[in-house]
């Protein structure tokens, strides 16, 4: 039986509730009855819930029920760069612990790299019950082929129930490949995770349409259930010194480590922190700062509060600052604890990239600027006065 969705014409009253509810614009009215455009419908079922007359019937092909009981444990892929474990890994270990507890399984850290024996203690102290470690020269820096091959092998041998990975450049590139290889479901950029304890399902909630809607996604019939998770939405695992994990060192034949691509060089931008994703505080300059040299005051404020420098699309397009600073739809999506928007008008494309920040401060001379609609605190005024005043005040309070 194929999956299908049908309107029961006798029951449809033409109320249009389903039309309004459909996130994909797939329903319209013809002769006062709902009609579903199958080219647009994703069978998400939003209309079924919306219909008060039970006039929409959704049959989802269940597929053959597979025996999934061989899969257990929650894995966290711990990303390292130059031997440093990325902070997102600790956030995932914190969240993974909660999920593992609900399922009554172990929390396992997976780390790939070279000369990384010393990381064992660090991962143990963050609550991992078990650590899978693969140490090989070819894994020193991230390369798609050997990382994909090794992680695929590990999963096939040890069968985790859930794999979490940071929604980083590396994470998104890697697990997308692994998911295809092992025919697993993968949900990108989750901001909320939970467990349906009865069905042992991972409930993965993520923004879509630039955060205008949220979707909860499950993987009913495939294992492992894989998810990438955004920075800064989960709480880092606490450190418990002396906590010991079981360590499993894996080796593979040389053929597993083969790579088709060659990493010729790693170039670090000498500019101050551009790692917007990991920043707790971001100070962003928009066109309202007036001139490229005025990024100096943005940078100074960022430095004082130990934050990163963001930029609006307009300033990047004008060549005032490199693209790596751009926040928004065609730049980076960020959710820091504090976002200070200086002279940013707040076009929807910009808001999409930063509106999930915990606290937003907006400074703009136009009281009608859209940025104020999302700001926790708004200041109408000249950025050239206010930003330096803020810098001075932060310096005073932080004793810098």
């Amino acid at each position: 039986m194929d999956s299908s969705i049908t309107i029961i014409l006798d029951k449809c009253t033409g109320c249009t509730l389903c039309v309004k509810k459909c996130p994909f614009g797939a329903i319209h009215m013809a002769n006062r009855k709902a009609v579903i455009d199958m080219a647009k419908c994703t069978l998400c079922g939003a209309c079924v819930e919306a219909c008060k007359f039970k006039a929409i019937e959704l049959n989802k092909e269940a597929g053959e029920k597979k025996d999934l009981s061989a899969y257990k444990d929650v894995w966290v892929f711990c990303e390292q760069k130059k031997g440093v474990i990325q902070s997102i890994s600790f956030e995932l270990l914190g969240e993974g612990k909660k999920l593992a507890k609900k399922l009554g399984v172990k929390l396992c850290a997976v780390i790939l790299g070279h000369n990384i024996e010393s990381k064992i203690e660090e991962l143990s102290s963050r609550g991992a019950d078990k650590i899978y470690i693969v140490d090989h020269q070819a894994l020193k820096d991230y390369q798609d082929d050997p990382y994909t091959e090794v992680l695929t092998k590990l999963v096939e041998e040890h069968k985790p129930e859930i794999i979490l990975c940071g929604a980083t450049t590396i994470g998104r590139s890697l697990v997308s490949r692994v998911a295809v290889r092992i025919n697993a479901g993968l949900t990108a950029d989750c901001t909320g995770l939970d467990i349906d304890e009865k069905e042992r399902l991972l409930l993965q909630t993520r923004p879509a349409f630039g955060g205008n809607i949220m979707a909860t996604i499950i993987t009913p019939n495939h294992r492992p259930q894989m998810a990438t998770v955004r920075h800064k939405v989960m709480k880092e695992a606490d450190i418990h010194k002396g906590h010991k994990a079981e360590v499993i060192r894996k080796t593979y034949p040389e053929s597993v480590f083969k790579t088709r691509t060659t990493l010729l060089d790693i170039v670090e931008e000498i500019e101050e922190t551009v790692n917007l994703a990991e920043a707790d505080i971001i100070v962003t300059g928009g066109r309202g700062i007036g001139a490229p040299e005025n990024f100096a005051m943005i940078k100074e404020l960022a430095k004082v509060v130990n934050g990163a420098v963001g930029a609006s699309r307009a300033t990047v397009d004008a060549g005032w600052i490199p693209y790596s600073h751009q926040v928004g739809q065609t730049g980076k999506t960020v959710c820091p604890k504090l976002y200070i928007a200086c002279g940013v008008s707040g076009q929807i494309q910009h808001l999409i990239g930063m509106q999930s920040s915990k606290v937003i401060v907006a400074i703009n001379k136009d009281p009608d600027a859209p940025i104020f609609k999302v700001a926790t605190y708004g200041i109408v005024g000249d950025v050239h006065d206010i930003v330096p005043a803020l810098t001075k005040e932060f310096k005073r309070i932080l004793k810098k």
Binding site: N183, P207, M214, P220, K358
Partner: protein
Amino acid sequence: MNIIVCIKQVPNTTDVKIDPVTNTLIRDGVESVINPFDTYAIEEGVRLKERFGGKVTVVTMGPPQAENALKEAISLGCDEGILVSDRKFAGSDTWATSYTLSMAIKKIGAFDIVICGKQASDGDTAQVGPGISTHLNIPQVTYVKKVEDIKDNKAKVERMMEEGYDIVETPIPCLFTVVKEINSPRLPSLKGMMRAKSAKITKWTADDIKADPKSIGLDGSPTRVVKIFTPPPRKGGEMLKGETADIAREIVELLKDVVI
């Protein structure tokens, strides 16, 4: 050089508005556009053709109206458009979508480089590009910000990373996903628009690309959307007024806990 560019038609998010009463997306009159990230993929495909010679084929999976996106790509310099469209694709997640596109690419035949935008603006997953390269079993470089050179069947590119960039060499055939920094897309030329108008778009169904029915659409998709909801819209907060120095003191006091 044979270049294949994969694109997606998406709702123009600048037009997406929330109905304040029903709290859902207002879709009436929402224009469909080429996914913004894919415009850089199209431009890069055309630029590589201009640098190294060859042909650019643009392919999309979507409803019949996605033909417009292909025509637009042709007006921007692509040579041919292929629409992969079938009701059987309904409900595809990224696994099934990347499988479907990889089967279409196989049918196109010999190619050197597949280019995708880094992600689509509606789904934001960044999973389809890497999925295609895996189904095709070719190397990939994601987040490419510059194609330095292609010679002797090897491409040298720069991959954008959080702290800077990597310089990576890959044999071809291969797949790139590209970021905005890679180029500034051109506007369609008059000649291009004329060509697009008369261009014949090739249309393929699931059968045409010999897709395994178990690997497409909802049945080929491991993931299921079980709930869709609108997050409460963020409310504007407090507006601070007064002398600059007073405001600065007040706001720093309010933010003290966050910053320290």
